[in-house]
């Protein structure tokens, strides 16, 4: 089946089997390998992407269901040159070690901070509870997200 949607601002048309998940479509068909696939059954959060601005697990969504949507992957949340404020905060607070789960944390945190730039630590922990990290112990990640709030309170959504 042919499916057309937007990825990181660019329109794409892909020929997919119905059973192909959005995660695998992004990785294998579109070569956007920043989206990581961990558990493949909606538990680990590594494959989180934004669909029409909302964080979803791309392993629990079919590529064909993305028809007409705007998808943002972790690649779409990066600049070419400098780190974004969110990335910078993760670096500063050691919010990553092996990095496998990091794309899922970045996309989830971006969705949260875009909607709730004044969220408190409890809210950050609640939202990030859907993402598993086996290295850091979460404290650095939570600190990073809290620090990045300031950038999202500005009008540019933290993108500069």
């Amino acid at each position: 089946m042919s499916v057309t949607f937007e990825v990181n601002g660019q329109s794409v048309s892909v020929d997919v089997e119905p059973r192909l998940t959005l995660a695998d479509c992004l990785r294998h068909k579109l070569r956007l390998t920043g989206t990581h696939v961990g558990c493949e059954h909606g538990v680990c959060g590594a494959c989180t992407v934004l669909v029409d601005g909302e964080a979803v697990r791309s392993c629990l969504m079919l590529a064909v269901q993305a028809e007409g949507t705007k998808v943002t992957t972790v690649e779409g949340l990066s600049n070419d040159d400098a780190l974004t404020p969110l990335q910078q905060a993760f670096r500063k607070h050691h919010g990553l070690q092996c990095g496998f789960c990091t794309p899922g944390f970045i996309t989830t945190a971006h969705a949260l901070l875009s909607e709730e730039p004044d969220c408190d630590a409890d809210r950050v922990r609640e939202v990030l509870s859907g993402n598993i990290c086996r290295c850091t112990g979460y404290i650095g990640i939570v600190d990073a997200v809290l620090e990045a709030r300031a950038a999202y309170r500005r009008a540019d959504g933290g993108q500069s």
Partner: protein, 285 residues
């Protein structure tokens, strides 16, 4: 694991969706897919066709009226969370839905999907049972409305026919002043409940409780009412002594299972504690 192969259809009308289900023996409805997709990944479910409801926008609304709260089948947890009217119109529903799954899943998972899936630990079937909900379904022979008590048969099992689609879940009118409590315990917020209690009662002019409804989730084959606990509450003032008595009655009323998450004895004790806490919230003690 990757999903098994299937055909995919995305009908524009409810009638087309029903016709597709009726003409394919192993077709399944998909809405948010937050339960079905994992089941397919594990090969627990292997439908030959998925009928996607995403174009049926009539099923998306939350309607609040004199007769209660009507949740369209495609209403997501996120939509309930964002609807400020529900704090008044159905505070028990709003409180329970806070416990459903994690952030990303809440953006996709739907009321209709959860009720059709009928996981014994799921909040929405528990609220449907505790609140005498009515579930409206559309099939090739027309629509019918089924009481929650009749609808849920057992774990992952309902009376839904293969060609039927849930269109709406209606919760009866919630009077002002009704007392309620929702308590759930899971190791991580958003994970499956080891036990959960949804309860409410009304208070008469004499200060005594009436019309007690006590529902439990995460125990046994499906959501059910604890009538023994309701009997303890009805006709009496909810005070500290009654709350202890109700908790004890709950531990005797449930028939929990052992599994990797908790022993039966733990679940039994936990359920009693959750009844106590839910009643403390209800009575504002």
């Amino acid at each position: 694991m990757k999903l098994p192969a299937f055909e995919y259809a995305c009908p524009a009308t409810l009638g087309e969706a029903v016709a597709l289900l009726a003409s394919n023996d192993d077709a399944k409805v998909v809405a948010g897919g937050q339960s079905l997709m994992p089941m397919m990944a594990f090969r627990v479910s292997q439908p030959t066709m998925l009928v996607d409801l995403r174009k049926l926008s009539d099923l998306r609304g939350i309607r609040i009226g004199e007769d209660g709260v009507r949740l369209g089948a495609l209403v997501r947890w996120r939509d309930i969370e964002d609807d400020a009217r529900l704090a008044q119109a159905h505070p028990l529903l709003a409180a329970a839905i806070e416990h459903v799954a994690h952030y990303q899943v809440r953006n996709r998972g739907t009321v209709g999907g959860s009720v059709a899936h009928a996981d014994p630990a799921a909040e929405m079937p528990g609220i449907a049972m505790a609140c005498d909900a009515e579930i409206t379904v559309a099939g090739k022979d027309g629509t019918r409305t089924i009481a929650a008590e009749e609808f849920f048969v057992g774990a992952l099992t309902t009376v839904l026919e293969p060609d039927e689609i849930i269109t709406e879940v209606k919760l009866p009118h919630w009077p002002a002043g009704r007392r309620w409590g929702f308590q759930e315990f899971a190791r991580r917020r958003g994970d499956f409940a080891m036990s959960g209690i949804a309860l409410f009662y009304d208070v008469g002019a004499d200060g005594k409780a009436a019309n007690a409804h006590v529902g439990v989730i995460g125990i046994g084959e499906g959501p059910h009412r604890l009538t023994a606990v309701e009997t303890v509450i009805n006709g009496r003032v909810v005070d500290a002594a009654l709350i202890v008595e109700a908790g004890v009655a709950a531990t005797k009323a449930v028939d929990p299972q052992d599994d990797i998450h908790a022993s039966a004895a733990y679940r039994r004790s936990l359920t009693g504690t959750l009844v106590e806490r839910a009643l403390e919230h209800a009575a504002a003690l």
